[in-house]
């Protein structure tokens, strides 16, 4: 029973990682940018949700929507101001800029409201029910379903819709995409908007689930989401969910065995092992460069 409970714990932790990793992998998949600011957009989303619920008395869903919209706009703004100029620069230059943007968001937030944490109000039922002697909370079921639904939607958008095809075309060859009549700037903006809206949604859900939010809350989940995305095969949407789950379950198992102070190390060890045996992640196709 304890182990069933632990498995459930692992999956609910994993779905949080999956949720954040989805937006990460989406942006990465299209413009190959390790968007370190993703975790901070996630944080902003959490705060927007917080203010919406506790100061402006909105319900959970309106707050979620508001956070997604604001984050989408923020994401587009960041892209236009900070990343657009760097499209032709080295990837590493864009990475440094992303680190800069991440610090900027974190410390601007601290500047305006301080570094102390905030506690999310209780808006979604935190009921739990019993299943074979294990406890499952309504909230974790909600998070898991949200992650999976979003994954399906994203997968559909990217692979089946016109804008999705445009996104993929842009990701492989910007110039050739232009020649197809694709508006590259808009396509990238849409990508950022979707990715950032996902981050915002994840922020609100995170806040509701774990209660505590603070201006630096995005750093660790940001890195974990990156790990999850890479585990699954970066750029691959179902991979983000799978990677998140693997990460969540591994961390839980390590803690359950009594090695909780090693759990981050274990997460990275799993990552490295998987990469050694499958250098492009669980779902990544190991396409060798054709010479």
């Amino acid at each position: 029973m304890e182990w069933l409970q632990q498995l459930i714990n692992g999956i609910s932790l994993g779905s949080i990682y999956a949720l954040i990793a989805l937006g990460y992998t989406m942006v990465y998949g299209i413009i190959k940018l390790i968007n370190f600011a993703h975790g901070d957009v996630f944080m902003i989303g959490a705060f927007i949700g917080f203010f919406a619920i506790s100061r402006w008395d909105l319900g959970f869903f309106p707050a979620l929507l508001l956070a997604m919209v604001v984050c989408a706009l923020l994401g587009v703004f960041i892209e236009r101001v900070a990343y657009k100029r760097l499209r032709n620069a080295t990837r590493i230059a864009a990475l440094i800029t992303a680190i800069g943007v991440s610090l900027l968001i974190e410390y601007t937030t601290i500047f305006f409201r301080g570094a102390q944490p905030e506690a999310y109000p209780n808006v979604v039922s935190s009921k739990t029910f019993q299943f074979l002697g294990a406890q499952i909370s309504m909230q974790s079921i909600m998070i898991l379903s949200v992650s999976i639904v979003l994954m399906l939607i994203l997968q559909f958008i990217v692979h089946k819709t016109k804008i999705g095809k445009a996104m993929r075309a842009v990701s492989y060859d910007v110039e050739a995409a232009r020649l197809m009549g694709i508006n590259v700037d808009n396509t990238i903006s849409v990508t950022f908007a979707i990715g950032s809206a996902l981050a915002g949604a994840a922020g609100v859900i995170f806040g509701v689930y774990y209660t505590k939010i603070d201006p630096l809350m995005g750093i660790i989940p940001g890195v974990k989401a990156f790990v999850a995305a890479v585990l699954g095969g970066i750029g691959i949407i179902p991979g983000a969910v799978a990677g998140g789950m693997v990460l969540g379950v591994v961390e839980t198992i390590v803690s359950a065995l009594g090695f909780s102070s090693w759990r981050d190390a274990a997460a990275f060890i799993i990552l490295i092992l998987i990469l050694i045996f499958r250098p492009s992640g669980i779902f990544g196709k190991n396409t060798r460069e054709k010479v």
Binding site: G114, S260, R263
Partner: protein, 374 residues
């Protein structure tokens, strides 16, 4: 770095009409919330003192430096405060490690350092038991709180099989856990499980599930409210109903918001004071702090930062000088000084000797339970 020329005149800001005090704090980086908590308390105290005419007529001029929660930066900041700014004394840092980093600098430059929340004994006492002349602290030392909690668990709550759940990335939490464990075992109790988490974690369910299966009748959770709030909430959700207890890191109005009032029933913590204490000094502080900080109620860091400034003021006044050596002596000779976080004297190891209060949460309110004298 020669920002203001007015202070380049050598003798420690003594000559002019001001008293320079350095604040070497974690204002960014991973423990920014502790450092800025101290800063808020200290700023309030400085403002009050200056509004009331300063120290012996001299205004306090704070020099704030952000050490980015990093010991190397804290060292550099201490050097700057001592050699460039030539402050009378340094307040900070929030963590023991960052304070230790400044201590050698302090000794060399005769600049007293007071760590408002540097709980580790090593801040003031070296491994060879010699005392660092210029190092002080405002808070309890770790072993003290751990001992009180252990006695409380054994004697008041009649616990036998206890568990410990502490922050392995915090020397504070580890220090408390260590003395708690020692005291429990010396007095016939049994530690059935010892688990740890890492600061900034948000998900503790797996370890809590594991703890639950060990069936303890009391769990000691030293750590800071940021994580403990979540731990208490998740523990109750996981069906852990036994009493939980922690130290002064629990003291924050956020604790109730994070954990929820119901979850906090049957939890206890040791603290310097109770913000619910009707004592005039305390209530005055709580009101003033709320007034200055958008109605935010103070936490332990705020209170300690506040008290540290007043303690320093007291010492400078008693020394009648801003000379580092004299201030240091005055700090060491502090006797029965009454501040918000208690009335204390300084012992030969530069530990403040003050009584601790055990508080209990009842429906989201901190309720006085008992007082333990050192």
């Amino acid at each position: 770095g020669s920002k203001d020329q007015s202070t380049t005149s050598g003798s420690k800001g003594n000559s002019s009409k001001e008293v320079k005090i350095g604040l070497n704090l974690e204002l960014s980086g991973n423990v920014a919330s502790y450092g800025s908590g101290i800063a808020k308390g200290a700023r309030l105290a400085i403002k009050e003192i200056n509004d009331n005419g300063g120290i012996d007529g001299k205004k306090i001029v704070p020099v704030e430096i952000d050490n980015k929660s990093d010991a190397a930066e804290a060292t550099a900041a201490a050097i700057k405060l001592a050699t460039q700014e030539k402050v009378v004394a340094q307040i900070g840092s929030a963590t023991s490690g960052n304070t230790v980093a400044a201590v050698q600098i302090a000794n060399k430059n005769k600049m007293p350092v007071i760590g408002p929340s540097a709980t580790s004994p090593t801040v003031t006492v070296n491994s060879d038991n010699s005392v660092n002349e210029y190092a002080f602290r405002t808070c309890f030392i770790d072993p003290f709180q751990g001992r009180i909690a252990a006695n409380f668990a054994l004697n008041t709550l009649k616990a036998k099989n206890v568990a410990i759940f502490s922050d392995s990335a915090s020397d504070y939490a580890k220090g408390l856990a260590k003395s708690f464990k020692e005291t429990i075992e010396e007095n016939g109790g049994k530690v059935v499980a010892e688990e740890s988490y890492v600061a900034k974690d948000t998900d503790f369910k797996s370890t809590l599930t594991r703890l639950k299966s060990k069936k303890p009748d009391f769990i000691y959770i030293p750590g800071y409210y940021e994580e403990v709030g979540l731990i208490v909430k998740q523990a109750r959700e996981a069906g852990i109903t036994v009493p939980l207890m922690g130290g002064d890191g629990w003291d924050s109005p956020k604790m109730v918001e994070l954990a929820g009032g119901d979850s906090l029933n049957n939890t206890f913590f040791t603290n310097h004071y109770s913000s619910e204490d009707p004592d005039e000094k305390i209530q005055k502080f709580v009101e003033a702090f709320k007034g200055a900080n958008k109605d935010q109620a103070p936490d332990a860091f705020n209170a300690l930062g506040y008290d540290t400034v007043y303690w320093l003021k007291d010492a400078i006044e008693r020394a009648g000088s801003t000379d580092g050596e004299k201030v240091k002596d005055a700090l060491a000779e502090t006797k029965d000084l009454s501040l918000v976080t208690g009335t204390f004297s300084v012992d030969e190891n530069h530990h403040p000797v003050k009584s601790a209060t055990v508080l209990e949460f009842k429906d989201g309110k901190q309720v006085f339970n008992s007082k333990v004298n050192p």
